[in-house]
Every structure is written in C-alpha cells, then in structure tokens.
C-alpha cells in the first residue's frame, strides 16, 4: 500500500465543493479522484488529509449538491469543530464560539490543522469566497499572524491537488 507524505493539510468549504459540482465531466472526475487518493493514501493523516467543517458538509448534503455521500466522505473528513475544541480546551464557551461568522470558524479550523504534521495547511475555496475570508480587517489581522495557513482559489487549488496526485502516482510507480 502506497503511503504519501504531503506538504500541507487541506481545508475546503461549501463554495469549493459546489464549484467542483459545476466543473465539466472529465475535470470533475479528476478532481474527485485526486481528492480521494490524497485522503486515502496519506501517511500522516489517513482519511483526514482533506478536511471540511461539519456545517459545510451537511449543507452540501441537504441541498443535494453531494449526491454520493460515500464517495464524498472518502474525499474529505467532516470535522465537528466545537467537539474538537472542547477536547483541547474544555472550558471554552461554545455558545459564544458558535456565534462567530462561519468564515472565521473556517480560519480557526485551518489554523488548528497547522498544529499537527505537516504543520502547514491550505484553505481551498473560490475567488469570491476567498475575499470574504481575507477582506474583513479583523480576519486579515488574524491571518497575518498565521504564516503557515494559505488561502487558494479554484485555479490554485487544482494545481495543488494535481501535484499531490502526481506525488502519489510517482510513489505508486516505484
């Protein structure tokens, strides 16, 4: 079994998955295949190399954008962030935390991902959604301190996923 060490954990959101669903046939198949391989063959984070907020995943299912739950759960780990936070910070006020805008909660999750190997993460989203995460000055101040979290739009995300798949393919060929 091929196990690959990837350079970054990947965080995705509702908008990114929705964008994949609008891609043309071959590109859509390739992107989903790349994500499946990245998640399943990860050495450091098997099944959890690609992460999405529970809230985003559930919304995609509720709206019928995710049609095959099994395939898409194979592509990404749906993270219950409040439970994760409760484990590492038992005294956290989750009531207050859940009132934070979802964009900020995604950035917090992206930051949390940098605390474990490979200690770097990429938040993959759409151009439009990226603006919502970087434009508010509160977020840009937050982001300026988190040097190991980068935010990519769709085109940049495809490059990363393709590179990760190429790395898997090269390991597989050995």
């Amino acid at each position: 079994m091929v196990k690959v060490t990837y350079s970054h954990r990947l965080l995705i959101d509702y908008d990114f998955v929705k964008w994949i669903s609008t891609c043309s046939g071959r590109l859509k198949i390739d992107i989903i295949k790349w994500m499946l391989r990245t998640n399943k063959n990860s050495k450091d984070n098997t099944e959890e190399q690609i992460v999405i907020l529970d809230e985003d995943f559930n919304k995609l299912c509720a709206e019928g954008i995710i049609k095959d739950n099994d395939i898409m759960r194979g592509c990404m780990f749906s993270c219950d962030l409040p439970s994760k936070l409760r484990k590492i910070a038992p005294l956290i006020d989750l009531g207050e935390f859940n009132k934070l805008p979802i964009e900020f909660r995604r950035l917090i999750l992206g930051t949390l991902l940098t605390s474990k190997p490979p200690f770097q993460s990429i938040f993959m989203t759409t151009k439009e959604s990226k603006l919502k995460h970087v434009s508010p000055s509160a977020y840009s101040t937050f982001l300026s301190r988190i040097t190991k979290l980068q935010i990519n739009n769709e085109e940049e995300a495809i490059i990363v996923l393709r590179e990760f798949f190429t790395k898997y393919s090269m390991e597989h060929e050995r």
């Binding site: 079994m1 669903s21 859509k28 898409m72």
Partner: protein, 71 residues
C-alpha cells in the same frame, strides 16, 4: 435488544483484504472474490452490515461513473 445498520465506505482494497484475512467468515463469497483479486491500492466501495459482528455484504470497484455522479 438488537441493532442493525448497513453502511458503505470507500476503502483501499488492501484495507478490505486485511479485514477478510482477519475475519474470512464475515464477508460474502462474491465480495471476497472481488476484494482478494484486487490490487492493494485500488479504491473500492465496501458495504458492511453492522449487526453482530460487522460483515462485508458487497464490494464494488470505484469507477469514473461513480465519481461523475458523486456531485
């Protein structure tokens, strides 16, 4: 009290092969044949029934058609 649940997961064939090797009686013959004849790194959709114990009831290889229809 009884509890039964059927669910499917995407797994590498090697993971399913380990399950079958560990518990050969907990897999249908048809699923076992496909799982054991697959390359370790092949992606498979494995359907399991959780009763007592967990049993593999169906195995399929992941196809481009499945990926195209996932979203």
């Amino acid at each position: 009290m009884t509890f039964e649940l059927t669910f499917s997961e995407i797994e590498l064939a090697s993971t399913a092969q380990k399950f079958v090797a560990f518990s050969p009686d907990f897999c249908t013959e048809e699923a076992k044949k496909l799982i054991m004849s697959s390359q370790g790194d092949e992606l498979m959709k494995i359907t399991k029934t959780m009763a007592s114990p967990i049993k593999i009831t169906k195995a399929e290889k992941v196809t481009d058609e499945m990926l195209a229809n996932a979203l």
